[in-house]
Amino acid sequence: MLLGGKDKPDPAFLEAVVRASGQKTLAHCYQCGKCTAGCPTTFAMDYKPNQIIRMLQLGRKEEVLGSRTIWVCTACFTCSTRCPCNIDVAQVMDSLRVIARREGKTRLGKDVVLFNDLFLLSVRRNGRVFESGLVLSFNLRRKTFFRDAELGKFMFARGKLRFTPDRPRGVRELARLFARAEERVEE
């Protein structure tokens, strides 16, 4: 499977991922499979973490960025903890999510991306995450209006959800951080 991939190898992609994830190299991965053995979500992945690393070595950009794997990684760092080559696999996954987003390849990670966007929007507006607003807007956008309704009712009754956000004064400073992040993406 790995030798007969669909897309043309892109060696520049490997280098971009190595740089973005702060690794020295991914070349010395010898496929021991410890990352995959410890990973809690392999059951939901199309390619296992060790296969992703191999595909990166081969420059298989489209398959890696289009995989479900990068979106069901929970960033639990078990892989990074156990890699005998000191590859920070979790950090690599993170960089792949960032690159996939920039290139609009998020078909298998739509819900993750929507949630992250709404989360960051909440932080940008309020300085802190306004949990009830976040969950409500996610379920509205997903059209799963009643998915968490029972739980929401329980939480409101126990005083665990607020009706209004709590805005720190530094929200303006945060706006500058967000603006700077956007400039960097455009650079």
């Binding site: 939901a44 929970t74 639990c76 903890t81 993750v112 992250n116």
Partner: protein, 286 residues
């Protein structure tokens, strides 16, 4: 002892109990928690999956605020603790990034603040000193201490052994509760995927509940609002998805500690759990 306190967003709403119990137990033990004024969200997994600059800049602002207070900080939420520590490490490696963050904020970043998890701060008081405060031993209660991911991983960032952490077990043993040996103490709860891939997330939660009860635990003790919410608040949804009937109370470690120190269960937030802890506490006459 005075130490800066970074509660994080969850502790203001879905994890109110953790905040109540943390503040109460700290006061009881003579630890003065000083809130970082005007703190902001650490960005959690949304920021690091989206934008590497925000992933560092959001936590960095809190570190700048803490250094202006001249205090080290303690962090109850494992995810916040992880993000703050990761940002600090990254800023130490990349001076240029630190300058950029400082420039945008208009305040200098010094990188001198020490970041502790609340678990470290409390165990740091000393197990003997803590044991001396126990007036209502929890003898007969068997618990599984659950560390999850971000409190202990990656190595160098986490606050205990990444493969076999034990600090919470030792701490909880001062209450005379029994801690079980189990294989899922540092497995991931899936909290990060509750909205992105719910079925996968709930499967992880189910496995943790199953493993803890299989090891004979009456309850789970944790140190993270995301773990607690995925295991407690969503336990009903997990049961519904898999046809299971778990009823495992999920405590925050200061709640159990506070209870054993004779503090009022209501003040420790023990009345707002999804799975009512009363039944488990009956074994200790609660």
């Amino acid at each position: 002892m005075r130490i800066g306190y970074y509660p994080g967003c969850s502790l203001q709403s879905s994890a109110r109990e953790y905040d109540l119990a943390a503040r109460l137990v700290a006061r009881h033990l003579g630890v003065q928690l000083v809130d970082i004024p005007d703190w902001n969200c650490c960005g959690a997994s949304a920021a690091h999956s989206t934008d590497p600059f925000l992933a560092v800049a959001l936590p960095a602002r809190n570190l700048v605020l803490a250094s202006e207070m001249g205090l080290d900080i303690t962090v109850p939420c494992a995810a916040c603790y992880h993000r703050l520590r990761m940002a600090q490490r990254e800023l130490a490696h990349d001076r240029d990034l630190g300058r950029k963050v400082a420039e945008v904020l208009g305040r200098p970043y010094r990188g001198t603040v020490r970041i502790y998890s609340l678990l470290e701060t409390i165990t740091g008081i000393g197990l003997e000193q803590l044991a001396a405060q126990i007036v209502r031993p929890l003898k007969g209660l068997r618990v599984a201490c659950y560390y999850g991911c971000l409190l202990v991983r990656p190595p160098g960032i986490g606050c205990d052994d990444p493969e076999n952490p034990e600090s919470m077990d030792r701490l909880i043993e001062t209450t005379k509760a029994e801690t079980v040996s189990w294989g899922y103490k540092n497995e991931c709860c899936g909290g990060a995927l509750v909205f992105g891939a719910r079925e996968a997330a709930f499967r992880l939660a189910r496995d943790i509940l199953r493993n803890a009860t299989g090891a004979g635990a009456h309850a789970i003790v944790c140190a993270c609002p995301l773990c607690q919410s995925n295991l407690d608040l969503r336990q009903g949804q997990v049961n519904k998805m898999f046809g299971t009937n778990f009823a495992v109370p999920i405590f925050y470690f200061p709640q159990l500690l506070g209870l054993a120190m004779g503090l009022n269960p209501r003040d420790l937030g023990l009345t707002t759990h999804f799975v009512d802890p009363q039944r488990a506490l009956k074994v200790v006459g609660g």
